[in-house]
Amino acid sequence: MLDIKKYLRLSKLPHIWCPGCGNGSVVRALIMAVDKLGLSKDEIVLFTGIGCSARTNVIVDFNTIQTTHGRTLAFATGFKLMRPDMKVIVITGDGDGAAIGGNHLIHAARRNIDITTILINNSIYGMTGGQYSPLSPQGTYATTAPYGNIEPSFDICKLVEAAGATFIARSTVYHIQLTADLIAKAIAHKGFSFIEVVSQCPVGYGRRNRMRTPYEMLMWQKEHAVLVQQAQRYSLEEMKDKFLIGELFVNKEKREYTELYEELRRKLAEGGEG
């Protein structure tokens, strides 16, 4: 089995996440993917923003950059333009990526820049004390929704697809092997790739929503996730409270942004008119 410790900063462990938090497992899936692809630690740059998800870059021994809240993709875009040879990976959360960073997310997707974005969706703002996010399902409870959240949530995968991303997938922490496989595919994909990983926050979300243990939350993921290849077995009624996992959308036709940028740069360097 893979020796995960090769890829970790052992002096930073144990990490600061709560008991049963899914973030540690997402990091494991990322490392499994990197190991599968045979990438070296030095050719990867991991960008994070603010929040629980942002702590991933403390424990992982890649090149790591922590940026301001929600602006992760803006920093990552700048870096990727400067160093298109590097593998740029962004880890963000549902608050960091879908709320504060929602605008950067749709524009990075629109440009189809070769960045792999992993959005850990735990349905809550964990670090700041359990406020609901744009991905908290309607009717769930949070410190800012003590009587139940009345806001409908985003289907973030559909949003990113509409914005123009060219690889879109969803998985859960329960399906950790699938998550690792999808991350590997996303890193190998040329263009903007996006993976939503449905995760568990036992402290901020679970205990307010009738799931008392991390295990119960993992079982919730197992029971509510439907593999996209098996979706036709379910009726619309049965799919109502379920969500799809797997590879949801791939487009290999659309041109990648740094390539177009390099083409333009060359043309102008040769004295062309652009």
């Binding site: 144990p14 709560c18 049963g20 540690g24 497992s25 494991r28 950790i176 243990t213 991390p214």
Partner: protein
């Protein structure tokens, strides 16, 4: 060996790093052989190592990288 008899030919060592473990209980629930158990003060400990069949479910699912299953130490 008689047909239908499963003999455990391999032994596994289940190492729990108690400095990293936060006793979330994921390994306790996922282990098909009930190798892990909560102590009376709520800590997870390896209780029945000899039952381990080496599925490594605990290792894969531990969010704190605290469990390691080692193969093969012959007895």
């Amino acid at each position: 060996m008689k047909e239908g008899v499963i003999a455990l030919t391999k032994r596994f060592k289940v190492v729990l790093n108690t400095k990293w473990c936060k006793s979330c209980g994921i390994c306790v629930e996922f282990c098909p052989k009930k190798v892990f158990e909560f102590t009376s003060d709520g800590k997870v400990r390896v209780m029945r190592e000899e039952m381990c069949v080496g599925c490594r479910s605990c290792e894969l699912r531990c969010p704190d990288y605290a469990v390691e299953v080692r193969e093969g130490e012959e007895e």
